[in-house]
Symmetry: C2
Subunit: 355 residues, 2 copies
């Protein structure tokens, strides 16, 4: 096993890297591709999950952020700024810490549980709340970054984010032995990741003839603007990481879906939570609720008789289940059985749960 | 990048594997070895951290557990049982789910926050609380497993745990280009991991001449039986994963320390929390408090002028910071700055924090 140098070094031939580009890395990427035996049998497919929760800050955001922060540093910036209440803020803060930059995270006032931000704060970010909603927070960070000077915007409109994220597709192809899966199932929120995977599959295919998957995108029903073909004013879903009403990469996602001959569909919160528990309890893989939109979507298609048989499917699991302990705990219904401290009681209990 | 097959397959030549051994894996291992530029400079050493939080359930326990559950399945067992309130229960539950076994986790009554067990419950384990303390819980699971039949004990006295865990040493050697570091710094609780690393380094050295490190073990001051050379009745530390008063692998750890010409020392909770915040904010690496005993120990030695200069040190970070959100949140002192929603205010604030 060679030491993995991190995305930017390992895939520098495919990325905007030159002799002046600094080496910024938390050795992100090279995440596990886990085969799901039980779900494969259940769904009549050959299912792998790409477990992005193994990245340094626990989500796929590290792929885009390492590239964005690397370029910010190359360009002499001293500050990275973003509007984010979740995974983006953690990734921005970690890579800023890593590279000696300051991270500023702007959030709407009064709506964010501290737990969601504890990672960013631990990584040393400054958290600023403004008197406004999330869209206004995004607007103000764009304005601040547009000032020029030494502040770089690292929200998803930063073009380097998608460059870094496309490496997920490279890894899937390599881990499958040099060919794309038949289907890539992926949660869709801001639509940057589906856009990035498609870019990655195309670039690898152009260079190495590794094939192209069909893209199956899944939105949460309460936050499904692309499925409904209209902006959702107040998106709501338990899958907070894809709770987006007006995706930044909407057009690019539609193009990717069309080009790949894919589909986009929505899944209910109930379906997402069912998949969340199923994946953990049957496969031993604990991914945050939004990640499981991809699994829920495959189950929905299967139930409707619309999932192709015997195809190889890779489902992208975007974040670690540990990112959202509250949702896990909310599902636990009195899970602890109280027993006397003697062997017979415990043996009897075990026999009970086994039969 | 080849697809990593998981520990047992990748290191089968070094593990108790035969033609009847089933393939159980969550593609654990191959965790990042991250270079720490800032801390290296601060401490006058060449410091890498082995980030075991990237394992599937977020801790190094996956290494031992994959081997223990693999062998339980090979032996026809249907149930794995352990007494655990933390990382061991999560790992046991995940690998049981993966391999179609039932996991039973026994805990002392009335002392465990549900959050600590949410992972195990999500993975489908049955949680049993008994009318007794942790030692009694451990005693009863031994008795239950000794019944014979189809129940396997997977606490640390299961000998396969150390076999799996020793692969951490193999990886460190390979990631450093085929030689052991000068020093391995490692948190010591139950002392299984320091024992396992030493076994791994010795086996690799015997076969490949890759050298041996000095072992620097660090216990939390309130749970430092090996340092004090006496059992600690009521161990207390913020580093819950090493809150052990009477380590299962005490003798083996002492032997390893002697053989390696190493040392063992203790660090206070204050020193652990200082290292915890330093590692996150200066290097972008968020590891659970116990992990940072290794960093705190290196800082302590450096301050005392006892850390060798210019040596290559690998510090083992045993678990993911996301495992313990409460400790992170407890350290946050009013971290959110409230500002008006205008560009000038934010630019002015940023200038303030930069100077």
């Amino acid at each position: 096993m060679k030491r993995w140098q991190g995305l930017v070094q390992e895939y520098k031939d495919y990325l905007p890297v030159n002799e002046n580009t600094p080496n910024v890395t938390l050795n992100e990427g090279q995440t596990p591709l886990i085969h799901c035996d039980t779900l494969s049998e259940m769904l009549g497919i050959n299912l792998y999950v790409k477990f992005e929760g193994a990245n340094p800050t626990g989500s796929f955001k590290d792929r885009g952020m390492v590239m964005a922060v690397t370029k910010a540093k190359e360009d002499g910036k001293k500050v990275v700024i973003c509007a984010s209440t979740g995974n983006t803020s953690a990734a921005a803060a970690a890579y800023a810490a890593r590279s000696g930059l300051k991270a500023i995270v702007v959030i709407p006032e009064g709506k964010i549980a501290l737990g969601k931000l504890s990672q960013a704060v631990m990584y040393g970010a400054e958290i600023v709340s403004i008197d406004g909603n999330f869209d206004e927070a995004l607007e103000i960070v764009k304005e601040v970054a547009n000032e020029g000077g030494d502040i770089e915007l690292v929200n998803s409109i930063n073009p380097y984010r998608i460059e870094g994220q496309k490496t997920g597709a490279f890894e899937v192809v390599e881990q499958l032995g040099g060919h794309a899966p038949d289907v890539l199932a992926i949660p869709v929120g801001n639509a940057g990741n589906i856009t990035a995977y498609w870019k990655g599959f195309k670039e690898f295919n152009d260079k190495h003839g590794t094939g192209l998957p069909k893209l199956f995108g899944f939105q949460a029903e309460g936050a499904s603007p692309i499925v409904q073909n209209k902006v959702v004013k107040n998106p709501e879903t338990v899958a907070t990481a894809i709770r987006i009403g007006n995706p930044a990469s909407w057009d690019k996602a539609v193009t990717a879906l069309d080009e790949s001959n894919g589909l986009i569909d929505s899944v209910t919160d109930e379906e997402i939570l069912e998949a969340y528990q199923l994946l953990a309890s049957k496969e031993g893989v604990f991914a945050e609720p939004a990640s499981n939109a991809s699994i829920a979507g495959l189950i929905k298609l299967h139930r409707a008789g619309k999932l192709p048989k015997d195809v190889t499917v890779t489902a992208v699991l975007t974040g670690n289940g540990l990112k959202d302990p509250d949702t896990a705990i909310s599902l636990l219904d009195n899970p602890i059985k109280s027993l006397p401290n003697d062997k017979e009681s415990i043996v009897k209990y075990i026999k009970g749960v086994m039969h």
